[in-house]
Structure formats: structure tokens, C-alpha cells
Symmetry: C2
Subunit: 460 residues, 2 copies
């Protein structure tokens, strides 16, 4: 609201009311425009969101045909509503989530329905008075036990929804049995409508522009490595730049990209859990080693913690004077550049799912630079400088050394994953350090990890 | 399976079958025992899990009374199943989650039901042939729009479930209308059974040993501060201990407690979102500033990243020789001890929701030590030592200085939160540096944050 001037305040309530009404559409328009802009941005960021929304509409329209066509409706009657309900609840953004929910729902409905019928039969044997008491006890015990089972971490990760539907179906079937004698028919109708609903969801989800969560996880892990690479690429220049305008915070957002890596753990775990439901698709086999992505993600995060420490030296109050920094500038810049290249090569090869050794050369080169740097530090390059002023630059150098070690571990994890997931072999990069290995036969026999260790040993 | 000896292999298939059968129960018993142990551990870790399971059983038994008692059943007939369904789906571990889901479900059912009836009426006006086409278009459009709305971050955080139920109810009501003329009755029954189910869930959830997620968040944030405090308490001794047995990795698990803080972000955000649904309870008012907990959590995590960097020096390959480390041992140990005490005091006061200034003294003391440490470093305490060997110890010292700055920010956030959430005032800690402030009146007027800044300025 705008500030009212004294003149406005002295005006009558009618005038003020009119002004308020005039202001209202303006505010309303501004809000609507804000929402529209937000929606546009959401759609542009990931157009699959728009497609997903249309897919949900389509699946619901398809399932509602069970109401419109008499022959279909006669098969299910009012139970057709379960099919509609299933589509709404089961249809998720990714194939993995939809399949996981659909399979959970179908299996849980089947098992719990059978158990519910059993409980109902057992209860009816005991006479009309004892029946509700017995059913109530059954429901209480089963609900309590299965609810507790939902706390088991392994069950929670993959079968949480199934356990919920188990409680639901068991209660519905056994309790309804008290008023409805056709329990068997009811359980059967519920199961078949749920199968129909789940199948429609899964088919629409897979057949129209499917969103594979496994692919998302793959790209996410690769993107995280790239983000660290981007930081390291820019870091050298940024740190050793003679900062004449220290207030230039304008275009430093590219240095902050790595921050999302720090908190990526829970997202990765969710994706890996869902990806395990997905069938083989494209380059990803059915038993693709999704668990190894978590290991790779953890190593990337370890590296990100070190990058975070490095970043704090960019904005630190205590800075090493430029002339002292200059003494280690060469190897530091090279180490940061080479490790950035290594990370980016790893990320790019990983993203394309090829086994290429191009990253090994950069790792070897960064290791050599690390040795240079260590030697430089040993030679008391600092002269008579104040130790307090040396510390930041020295810490930066030592962090770079640690980051190189981290990247080595990441490379090992990438090569191991590439081996287990049988990424295709693209090249036998020329490794000038060991020409004897370059005969076609020898290259085939030497694994990437051996090669990594070998080259790095030479570099050291 | 045990390895079969040659004698066993020469035995007949019957004998082997018997042995296999004998082995089976053993394996089965071992598995069952494993599961029982896991269940026992889950129950012991958080006994509220057992209570929650029993509560779900109770709520389901209560809602199934609608089937057993004729007068209740006559009111709802078969729609009573919606009440059972609602209890299963809405009943969550915490009050916040249950209330959020219940309110979302009731509100969404009401709005979507009304809209569904409107759509049905509009469609019937157009004749029997056009009706299904018109309804199908409505369902498609509404489902697509609302599904897209679920991607808006703000709506997703609080109203995701409501939007899902909106699609569900709208589809059910408008589509069923084609076969069932009593749409109004159906919508009314659905709404009232859902209200009954939600209310039973909420009442059981709140009245029997309620689990307040806000309280959990409060304790979680306090525990995270304590974990960092524990690390810092142990760090000084651990780092400066003359390591005669470097392999003593036996009892270092207490040093790893802080690691869970690094990945606590998503958990905190979920809890804060759910806590906002909770009514005032105990010391937490209705509009308790849950958002500020996120800020405090972020600061704690920033500190944890630095602690992670500190931890890497504990196990670093390159170590500063003990005699050089000894030169900064005194102030470093004091800084780590005092900052640990400050964090623990802050955590303890925060946990008890009291405003006490005891932490300020420790922060001031750690600031003084930090200055000592800086002076020590300036005096070239290292002598003729190799710079490469100095770096680790110097980095440790500089990290400790940064951690002290972090703790200062945490203290500010805690005091700000205490002010906004009106924690009760417990004491006016004796601050020998400014006796003039200790008159009752003056102490009341000076805010904790002013005091913090004031004491720290003196310390510097």
C-alpha cells in the first residue's frame, strides 16, 4: 500500500473507499503477473513439468472412460472410483516413482485383501456378537505391527507406500465384511480396479516422454562434479588477481554454484531408491549399480567441503599480500586449472557413459604440480614475511593438495562404476609415460584404475 | 551354508535333504532373531515409535465403530469406508504432519467437491451426448493445471497433499455424476466422512502422548550445536596429544558425531514446514518463529564445514612435528575449549528456552585467546622450522579463529531468536568487565545482542 498523504486522509470515507478499490485491481494484477512469471520460469527451467501435467490430465481422462462406456462400467460399477483414485495417487513425475507406487499398491492390495478375507471368515465363525470384537482386535494388531514396520529403514526406503496400502486394504476388507456379505466380490473388484488404474498410470508415464529418474540421478552426479570443476577453474584467477576494486561482488555468482553440492545428499538417496524400480532403458541396464552413485556422490561432497574451505579464503579479512602470494601463484594456478580439467573430463566422460582415460593425464599433471608446490613450500619461499600473513596463502596451497587427492578418489570411483556398469570403451588415450602399454593388447588388459595408479605413481 | 565335507557328499540325496532341512530352521531363526533385535533397537532408540503404532491401531479401531453400530452406519452407509481410508492416510507420526494433512484434506475436499458439483451441473445442461465430453475436458484441464501448481515451491512445501486431494475429489465427484444422480448426496457424504476421519486422527494424535515436531526441531537444532561443541572439546587434546600409538582408532567415534550436522539441511526444512501447522503447546506459541530455526541451522552448518576442515588435520599425513605444535598448544587448546563451552552453553540455554548470558563470557574469553594466538603467530614463533611442516598447525590455528567468528554469529542468532520467541529471562550473569551495567535496571534495558557486541569489543 502507498503512504497516504494528509490531503487523502482529510477526504471523506467514500473517496478513500474508491481509491482503495482502484488500488485493489492494481495489486491484484501485480500478484497475478507475479504468479504467471513464476509459472513461466518453472516451465522454462524444466519443460518436462508441463508435459507431466498434461500426462496426468490424459491418464485421468482415460480412466474416466470406465464411467462413460456402459460395457466397461458394468464390469466394475461403483468400484470404478478406485481406478480413478489409483491414477491420481500413483501417477508421479518419474517412471521410477510411478512404478514403485504402482507395484507397491497392487502387491499390498493383493496380500492384504487375501488376509482380510481370511480374517473375515475366521470372525464370522465365532458368531454375530463376537465378530466385531474379533475383527477390531485383528485390525488393531495388524495396524500396530505394520505401522511399526514402517520405521525399519530398509522397508521405509522401498516399501513404505506398500505397507500403508496394506493397512488400508486389510482394514477396509475385514471391516466392510461386517455389513456386506459379498466380501470376496468387493476384494476382487478393489484389486482389479487398482490393477487397471496402476497399469494406465504406468503405461502413460512410460509411453509419453518418460522421465527416467535414473537418468536424472546420472546427470545430477555429473553436474555436481562439473560445478566443483567450474569453481576450481575460476578460483586461480580470482584468488591471485591483484584486487584493486575489492567491492566488485557483481559477477561472482559463478563461484557459488558449488554450494548446492554441499546439501545434495538426501536428494541423491531419494533418486537412487526410486531408480531401482526402473526397468532397463537406453544405456542403463536393469541392475544398473545405482548404489555406487551414492558412493560417488559422497566423495564429491567430501571434495565440496574442501572447496567450501577454499572459498572462505577468497573473502577472508586477513589476506596474504599480493607480492607474497605471487611466489606460489604459478603452481597454485596450474594445480587449480589441472584439477578443474580433470574433474570436468571425468564428469563429461561419466555423463556420456564412455570409458576414456583423458582425465588421468590431468590428474597426473596436477599431481606433478602438487609436488612442485610442496618443494616450493619447503624451500622457505616466503623469506622474512610475517607468518600470520603467510598462513592464508599456505592454507590455500595445502587445500589444493588435498583437493587433488580427493579428485583421485573420485576418479577411482568413476572408473570402478564404469567397469561395473560396462560403459563403452572410447579410446586408448596416448600416455607418453609408458609407451610399452600402448600396444592394443596390453591396453585392453590394463584396467583404468591400474592405469590411474600407475600414471600417478610416475607423476609422484 | 556350511561347506560340505567329502563324506557328506558321498551320502545319499535323502540324507543331504535332511541336512538341508535341518539347516533351514537355523538360518530362519537367525534371520528372525536379527529382525527382532532390529525392532528392539528401533523401539529403544525412540519409544514414541511404539506408542505411535498403538495409536494408529486405536484410531482405526475407533473409526471402524461406524460399521459396527447400526445408528452410526445408517448415517453414512458405504461411505464409511472413506473415514477408514482417511484415518490410515492422514495419521502421521507428528501432530504437525497429521494436522497439516487433515486440514489439507478437509479443505481440498470441500472446495473440489463444490467445484465438481458445479462442473456436473454445467455438463448436464448440455445434454446426454455432450455431457461426458464436457466432463472429460473439465477433468483434463483441472488435473493438468493443479498438477502444474504442485511444482510451485511454496505450494509444494505446505499444500502439496491438498492439491492432490483436490484433483482426486474433483474427478470423483464430476465423473461419478454421470452414473449417479445423487451427486450432492455423494459429495456431502464424502466430505462428512473425511471430516470424521480427520478429526478422529487429529484427536487421537494430540490427546495420547503427542509428538510435537516443533519440539523435535528445537531439540534437533540444539543437539547439532552440542555435537560441534563435543568435537571442539575433544579436538584440543586429540590434536596436541603426542601420538605414540598412531593406530589407536579405537575410541574416536565421539569425534565423528558432528558429521550428521553436515547433511541436516533437508531434515530441518521438512520439520520447520510441519511445525508451522502445530497449535501453541507448552513453551511454543502458535506463531513461534520456526523460520529463524532454519537460519540458526544454516549458521550451525557453516560452522560444521569448518569443523570438517579441522577434522581433516587430525588424520592428515603431513603433520607438524610435536615440538613445533607445542609452541601454539596453550592458546589453541584454550580457544578450542572455550569455544566448545560457549557452544554448549548456548545449546543448553536454547534447549531450556532461557535467556542467559553465560555463553557471552566464554565467547569473550575465546576472543581474547584468539588475539593471543594471533600475536603469537605474528612473533614468528616458529623459528627456523620448515614452512611445509608449519602449515598444518598454522591452518589449525587459523581455522580455530574462524570457528570462533562462526560461534559469535550463532550466538547472535540464538539471542535474536530468544528475543522474538520471548524466552524467559533467567539471570543477569555477572560481567566483571562492566560493573556499571549490573544495576538491575540497566541490565533489563540492555539487550543480549548489545551485550554480546559490547563484551566482545572489550575482549578485542
Amino acid at each position: 500500500m502507498e503512504v497516504t498523504s494528509p490531503e487523502q486522509e482529510s477526504a471523506g470515507p467514500l473517496t478513500r473507499g474508491c481509491q482503495w478499490l482502484k488500488a485493489l485491481p492494481k495489486e491484484f494484477c501485480a500478484k497475478v503477473m507475479g504468479i504467471a512469471k513464476m509459472a513461466k520460469k518453472l516451465g522454462q527451467d524444466d519443460p518436462r513439468r508441463i508435459i507431466h501435467s498434461l500426462k496426468v490430465g490424459l491418464a485421468l481422462t482415460l480412466v474416466s472412460l470406465f464411467y462413460y462406456f456402459k460395457p466397461l462400467y458394468d464390469g466394475f460399477e461403483d468400484s470404478a472410483l478406485w481406478a480413478v483414485l489409483t491414477v491420481v495417487v500413483v501417477f508421479e513425475f518419474s517412471v521410477g516413482a510411478t512404478l514403485g507406487k504402482g507395484l507397491n499398491r497392487m502387491l499390498a492390495t493383493f496380500v492384504a485383501g487375501a488376509l482380510g478375507i481370511g480374517a473375515h471368515c475366521l470372525a464370522t465363525l465365532s458368531g454375530r456378537t463376537a465378530e466385531p470384537i474379533l475383527i477390531a482386535i485383528f485390525v488393531f494388531v495388524i495396524a500396530a505391527i505394520v505401522t511399526f514396520m514402517r520405521f525399519f529403514p530398509r522397508l521405509k526406503a522401498r516399501y513404505d507406500y506398500g505397507l500403508l496400502i496394506f493397512i488400508l486394504t486389510f482394514s477396509l476388507v475385514s471391516v466392510s465384511g461386517y455389513r456386506d456379505d459379498q466380501v470376496l466380490k468387493m476384494a476382487h473388484q478393489r484389486l482389479s480396479t487398482i490393477i487397471v488404474g496402476s497399469c494406465i498410470s504406468v503405461i502413460v508415464c512410460i509411453c509419453i516422454c518418460p522421465v527416467w529418474i535414473g537418468e536424472d540421478l546420472h546427470n545430477f552426479v555429473a553436474a555436481n562434479m562439473e560445478k566443483l570443476g567450474n569453481f576450481l577453474e575460476a578460483f586461480g584467477d580470482e584468488y591471485f588477481k591483484v584486487s584493486e576494486e575489492p567491492q566488485s561482488n557483481v559477477n561472482k555468482s559463478f563461484l557459488q554454484g558449488y554450494r548446492s553440492v554441499l546439501t545434495s545428499k538426501s536428494g541423491e538417496e531419494t533418486m537412487a531408491n526410486l531408480a531401482r524400480w526402473e526397468p532397463g532403458h537406453g544405456p542403463f541396464g536393469f541392475r544398473h549399480p545405482w548404489k555406487m552413485y551414492l558412493k560417488l556422490g559422497n566423495l564429491t561432497r567430501e571434495c565440496a567441503y574442501k572447496v567450501e574451505a577454499l572459498n572462505s579464503y577468497l573473502n577472508s579479512k586477513i589476506q596474504t599480500p599480493a607480492e607474497i602470494r605471487g611466489k606460489i601463484q604459478g603452481p597454485c594456478e596450474k594445480a587449480s586449472r589441472e584439477s578443474s580439467k580433470a574433474l570436468k573430463e571425468l564428469a563429461s566422460a561419466f555423463r556420456k557413459m564412455v570409458r576414456t582415460r583423458s582425465a588421468i593425464l590431468h590428474i597426473a599433471s596436477s599431481k606433478t604440480t602438487a609436488e612442485e608446490l610442496k618443494n616450493l613450500l619447503k624451500q622457505s619461499v616466503w623469506g622474512e614475511a610475517d607468518v600470520l600473513e603467510i598462513i592464508p596463502a599456505a592454507s590455500v596451497a595445502s587445500l589444493l593438495l588435498e583437493i587433488i587427492e580427493c579428485i583421485e578418489k573420485i576418479a577411482e570411483a568413476v572408473y570402478e562404476l564404469a567397469k561395473v556398469a560396462s560403459f563403452r570403451n572410447r579410446d586408448a588415450t596416448v600416455l607418453p609415460e609408458r609407451p610399452d602399454l600402448l600396444h592394443q593388447g596390453a591396453v585392453q588388459q590394463v584396467s583404468d584404475i591400474d592405469m590411474l595408479h600407475h600414471v600417478i605413481t610416475i607423476a609422484e
